[in-house]
């Protein structure tokens, strides 16, 4: 009798397990098809000179691609451009949305929802359209920004997209249009800070600056951490805007040849898929290391309220 009940229970658990696998199975298949197998394959490719134009000449070249990677001046330039851009744009892609989130969360603001929607909206504008609009705004002659600069300061604004120095700042300015999502997640974080904490701080006579740095920031640090991780990953994969602005050639003078654009050119324009795979894996390893470092620093500055994870 006891044995029978036990078997029945076991059957139930097994049946649950089967159902579970049946539902999740689709993703498991997808994971092997589109992630695990291609990843392994690209690792293997990175040790070959695979080029679909001459498939019969494909052979293992050992570490040759990796040696090339370290001596390739174009890789050096592309990495340097990518890093410089990341250094400017990653911090700004947290600070600016945070400022706006605080702004639209302010109790003095009337019509908060309208403001939130308006700040969010450009995030949904297709990147290609965004680039076109910004090309107009930043046009050195007829663009509004240079006209404003000329009206206020009486000097001519820079030739944003033609000047080697100004093209990265111009791309950073363009990036502000994509802050909608970060702003909303930060806003959700701000709204989760218990109001009692602010009240207690007020009773203790803490000013708004002190309150912001000692209460608000630590309380929303998990959301900041999440956004920082995503921003870092995105910075290394930066492609579309730079591709369009640089006309696919890295204009002006190679200053928009980001790492990912160099990778695309190597693999798809020159069909050098062996070296392309090496570039992809190098990027993956760098991103992975940076993410791990970021995760390690978590304990120093990210505050998880009681009981989370």
């Amino acid at each position: 009798m006891v044995g029978k009940t036990k078997r029945w229970k076991l059957g139930l658990a097994q049946r649950e397990e089967l159902w579970g696998f049946a539902f999740v199975g689709l993703w498991i298949i997808g994971f092997f098809l589109w992630t695990a197998i291609p990843m392994t394959a690209s690792l293997v490719f990175s040790f070959t000179n695979l080029n679909p134009i001459h498939p019969d000449q494909t052979r293992f070249v050992g570490l040759a691609n990796y040696m090339l990677l370290f001596n390739d001046l174009q890789v050096r330039d592309a990495t340097w451009i990518t890093l410089r851009f990341a250094l400017i744009s990653v911090p700004l892609s947290i600070v600016v949305p945070l400022a706006i989130a605080v702004l639209v969360n302010s109790k003095y603001l009337i019509g908060k929802n309208i403001f939130r929607t308006l700040f969010y909206m450009p995030y949904l504008i297709p990147v290609v359209v965004g680039v076109m609009v910004w090309q107009g705004i930043l046009n050195s002659e007829s663009g509004w920004l240079n006209r404003i600069i000329e009206a206020i300061f009486g000097i001519k604004g820079p030739r944003w997209f033609q000047d080697e120095f100004w093209v990265l700042p111009a791309l950073t300015i363009m990036g502000f249009w994509g802050i909608g999502n970060t702003m909303l997640t930060l806003l959700a974080g701000l709204q989760n800070v218990p109001t009692e904490m602010y009240e207690a701080a007020e009773v203790d006579g803490a000013g708004p600056v002190y309150t912001f740095f000692r209460i608000t920031l630590p309380m929303i640090s998990p959301v900041i951490f999440y956004n920082l991780t995503i921003a870092l990953i995105c910075a290394f994969q930066y492609f579309t805007q730079a591709y369009i602005i640089g006309n696919g050639r890295g204009d002006p003078n190679g200053q928009t040849t980001f790492y990912n654009i160099y990778l695309y050119k190597t693999a798809f324009a020159f069909q050098d898929m062996g070296y392309g795979s090496t570039l992809a894996w190098a990027m993956f390893i760098v991103v992975l290391i940076l993410t791990v470092i970021l995760f390690k620093t978590q304990s120093r500055w990210v505050y998880y309220g009681g009981g989370e994870d």
């Binding site: 397990e17 696998f21 539902f23 992630t35 291609p38 359209v129 994969q237 798809f268 993956f284």
Partner: protein, 329 residues
């Protein structure tokens, strides 16, 4: 309040630029008098010819007159209010006078951009790709999220961790083998590589839906189980009917993503312009458009129309969906 207004104006300034430039002619874009609105110098038709109107200071105050006979030190003018009075002579340099501007938007940019980029075809392509990949992504993610939310099975936590880790994986690492694979099965130059992989669920959607499904009380499932419903039935009759807002949010997320995607079509459709979606198709013309901002902005506005309508009509569900992800991540 003022800060917020200022910030929002600065933030949306490019949209204003787009909205007004789309209605400008080339002359209006270059003309510094016409920075904000599409305006041109006003003219007056006198005896079959158009003459520009100027603000002329006279003894009777400033009058609006049409310049008929321009001269260096004195010119002849016609008063549009009283043309029968004939030519009025005014001493002074007409070049120092301000022309009278009127707002005169042009609609020409829209049909011209429409024809130049073959907009209907781009629009149809994008719509088909986005809709089918959204359909696949949402349906598959519902199943997978349900599996993770409601069932216990071996290795579930490891699998879920793996799923979340796939978010940080750069697409470039898997791109080249995928490309070679799709080419070798004859899918190069078709839409299939842009659509089929989405039928296997993705981390963002699964995560959002799992969070949402877990919030639905289990009592309902249990009641249905006692009534003899199997898990598939429970999914369709209990879980899905309660998750419309999350499902809308996920669908829109994916739809917008697919609508905007540039990289994947660039890789797979290179050299097949008749298959291009808007993102790639438009870029082919941006170089031609930079010298004609009016056309570029008209094209931009047309591309924006559908996402904008979708966003505003489903705004509530959409914002809710984002907040769910935001808080939980």
């Amino acid at each position: 309040m003022l800060i917020a207004l200022g910030a929002v104006i600065a933030f949306l300034m490019p949209l204003g630029y787009m909205g007004t430039t789309a209605f400008k002619t080339i002359q209006q874009i270059i003309d510094p008098h016409s920075v904000l609105l599409p305006s041109s110098p006003m003219t007056y038709n006198y005896q079959g010819k158009d003459y520009t109107l100027y603000q002329v200071p006279t003894e009777q105050g400033i009058r609006t007159l049409a310049l008929v006979e321009p001269g260096r030190e004195e010119s002849g003018w016609i008063d549009p209010a009283n043309p029968a009075a004939g030519i009025i002579t005014w001493v002074g340099r007409w070049r120092t006078l301000e022309p009278v501007y009127e707002i005169r938007p042009t609609l020409d940019n829209f049909p011209r951009a429409w024809d130049q980029i073959n907009f209907p075809r781009l629009f149809r392509n994008t719509l088909f790709i986005s809709l089918s990949s959204t359909l696949g992504a949402v349906i598959s993610s519902i199943f997978v999220a349900y599996g993770f939310a409601r069932f216990r099975f071996r290795g579930k936590n490891t699998l879920f961790l793996l799923l979340m880790a796939s978010i940080i994986l750069p697409t470039q690492v898997t791109l080249i083998p995928q490309y070679i694979f799709f080419r070798s099965i004859g899918w190069g130059g078709t839409w299939l590589p842009l659509i089929v992989p989405h039928f296997f669920a993705n981390a963002y959607n699964v995560f959002l839906l799992r969070q949402y499904f877990r919030g639905i009380p289990r009592d309902l499932d249990e009641a249905a189980t006692i009534d003899g419903a199997n898990p598939l039935r429970i999914l369709f009759s209990v879980i899905i009917p309660q998750s419309w807002s999350a499902l809308t949010a996920v669908s829109l997320f994916h739809f917008f993503w697919a609508w905007n995607d540039f990289f994947t079509p660039l890789v797979y459709l290179q050299g097949n312009p008749e298959l291009y979606p808007i993102s790639v198709g438009l870029t082919e013309f941006t170089n031609a458009f930079t010298t004609q901002p009016g056309l570029a902005m008209a094209a931009a506005m047309m591309t924006l129309a559908l996402p904008a309508v979708l966003f505003f009509s489903a705004q509530r569900a959409f914002m809710q969906g984002i907040v769910i992800t935001g808080v939980e991540k």
